[in-house]
């Protein structure tokens, strides 16, 4: 089974985010970077598919050279090879352009299944998987919290508001992953894995290397652009309910405050 995992590197979820002086990007120098947690779930599911059906797991990613670290981690976890599209033109464009660029690479890998995080914890746009499936003309099953495959079809469970849906598609298909650490429990890279990862193939490509027309990518082709970032609204300072009060006093004071001040009960 040929499996492709689309992987993005994102700032660690603990990071302090500061707006850069241009007002529309973030200060990236001092950030710690990780594999987008949802892509890590996708990778874990992909590695389990490989363990069951054989074949190989290829990583496809885009971004600057810092992304190599995330890719090496994925290779150390058990992926076999990787392609990184590193081209500054992509950074000026939008997601549609980036996915279009990746779709060429993905097609060449001739996958049976593509696994991708349902969203990325940076710009949280939840679009990459669906867009890739559209460019390939494939079905996609979104937000999987379980996955089974017999090698010819794939079945997932997907949570919707107030319930669950079970979806099935014949392969080739694309699956995006939701869920949580408790569901996917992604493996850690082992020490031998880390050693082996250093020798696994990692191809670096520019848009020109891929034979793509640069005019179709970058700022001039973008449909949507981020024009400004702003900090979250300040919450007015809260109030600790009077520490002198007895327990019952605090309880009745909270009921009063929620009813009379906040008017939420």
């Amino acid at each position: 089974m040929n499996i492709v995992v689309m992987l993005k590197q994102t700032p660690d979820t603990e990071s302090v985010i500061r707006i850069a002086s241009n007002g529309k990007s973030i200060v990236a120098d001092d950030l710690k970077w990780i594999i987008n947690p949802y892509d890590e779930f996708a990778l874990e599911a992909a590695l389990r598919l490989k363990e069951k059906h054989g074949g190989k797991v290829s990583i496809v990613s885009y971004g600057p050279q810092r992304v190599v670290e995330a890719i090496r981690t994925a290779l150390a976890m058990g992926a076999d090879d990787a392609v990184l599209i590193d081209d500054p033109v992509l950074a000026e464009g939008d997601l549609l352009g980036a996915v279009k660029a990746m779709s060429g690479v993905v097609k060449e890998l001739n996958p049976d299944i593509i696994c991708s995080g349902a969203r990325a914890v940076d710009y949280d746009q939840a679009q990459r998987g669906a867009m890739m499936a559209e460019f390939l003309g494939w079905p996609h099953l979104a937000l999987a919290v379980s996955l089974e495959s017999d090698g010819t079809k794939v079945t997932i469970k997907r949570p919707i508001e107030g319930g669950n849906v079970t979806l099935e598609a014949s392969l080739p298909a694309l699956v995006t992953f939701g869920g949580s650490h408790s569901i996917w429990n992604p493996r850690y890279a082992s020490l031998p894995g880390i050693m082996k990862a250093k020798k696994k193939p990692l191809a670096m490509k520019s848009l020109a290397d891929l034979g793509l027309n640069l005019a179709e990518f970058g700022g001039s082709s973008a449909k949507i652009l981020i024009t400004a970032l702003e900090p979250p609204p300040q919450r007015p300072a809260g109030r600790i309910l009077n520490g002198d009060l007895e327990l019952e006093g605090k309880a009745s004071e909270l009921v009063r405050a929620l009813h009379e001040e906040a008017r939420v009960i």
Binding site: Y123, A133, E134, P232, G238, V255
Partner: protein, 329 residues
């Protein structure tokens, strides 16, 4: 004369989901700002009869595709039908719900129609005829404003429970146009739909949420929160620590790798307030924290903080709520 504003609605189990009225209301506001007509897309099975309900929220024309093959949401069929209707009505702006299915539909539509989608927006403005939309990024630590380039139709999905619904005006009736679109053969299928029938309130739609964290110490102690929730008509959520401990299902997890919720009141019980948890509930209108550690970071986000042992405070608070409910009803 500007083109129309088009909203995509969501229908389930014989009725519109509330978020449909939210996007219709938001669509009405944008259409007024642009001086445009408001139309809506309703697709599903058995939807025609209810379609005119959207008039109450300012929709003037409803395009309906009603087919048994559209009984359940399936990306492949829904995207084809929706794209065909959008092409026919030629909108200036498209607004849809950032619900589970809406986000999926929007993303695939964006690729099919080669447009730009801003997902999970919490504010949309029309500034001298230019549409701008805002959504939270980096787990709510920052917000992004986006604009669309010349000649691109803005596609915007709106986070549920954020946009205000207009006061419905039942006297307003839209014109309803039935559109026949051939439904494509899909390579994916819906095998099963299991809806919670126990009357459980969905977290993303709840007005009040009570969440318990590691401080709850055991699955059985959630009975205490369930009891309080029943009194308040609230939903019960959890932190990742509680879900990882196996006390609550993943569907109850609030946070960066859980659900993003937006209730009027969020009560965090025995939750420290890690950044990844705040990512899921930080935009709640009022936040109450109950924690025995007065230095817990959750207190810096709370409108009301109670420093107490939850095992003593929650029963006392439940009693007070019960008293209040009986005197007020």
């Amino acid at each position: 004369m500007p083109k129309c504003v088009c909203v995509i609605t969501e229908f389930r189990e014989g009725k519109f989901r509330r978020v449909s009225f939210e996007v219709a209301s938001e669509g009405r506001r944008i259409a007024d700002a642009l001086g445009a007509h408001l139309c809506a897309i309703v697709i599903g099975s058995g939807v025609t009869e209810k379609a005119s309900e959207l008039g109450a929220y300012g929709v003037e024309t409803v395009y309906v595709t009603d087919d048994p093959a559209l009984e359940h949401y399936l990306t492949e069929t829904y995207v084809t039908v929706t794209a065909a209707i959008i092409k026919a009505c030629d909108p200036a702006v498209v607004i849809l719900p950032a619900s589970v299915n809406g986000k999926d539909l929007g993303a695939r539509l964006a690729a099919r129609l080669e447009v730009g989608l801003a997902q999970d927006c919490v504010e949309v403005i029309c500034d001298k005829g230019i549409i701008k939309a805002k959504w939270p990024i980096f787990a709510g630590k920052c917000f992004a404003w986006s604009e669309w380039t010349e000649g691109t139709i803005p596609f915007i999905s709106c986070r549920p429970n954020v946009m205000d619904c207009l006061m419905p005006d039942e006297t307003k009736k839209p014109s309803v146009e039935v559109i026949k679109v051939p439904i494509p053969e899909a390579r994916s299928r819906v095998q099963r739909v299991d809806l919670d029938t126990a009357g459980k309130i969905e977290l993303t739609e709840a007005n009040i949420i009570i969440s318990g964290g590691r401080g709850m110490k055991d699955a059985s102690n959630y009975a205490m929160l369930e009891e309080l929730a029943a009194l308040l008509g609230a939903a019960v959520g959890a932190s990742r620590a509680a879900v990882d401990s196996g006390w609550r299902p993943h569907s109850d997890q609030v946070g960066q790798t859980g659900k993003v919720v937006n209730p009027n009141l969020y009560i965090a019980v025995g939750i420290s307030g890690a950044i990844q948890h705040l990512a899921g509930m930080g935009s709640s209108k009022f936040i109450v924290a109950v924690n025995k550690d007065s230095d817990a970071p959750i207190f810096s986000k709370a409108d009301y903080g109670v420093v107490a042992d939850l095992f003593q405070f929650i029963p006392a608070f439940t009693e007070e709520v019960r008293k209040y409910k009986t005197t007020c009803s």
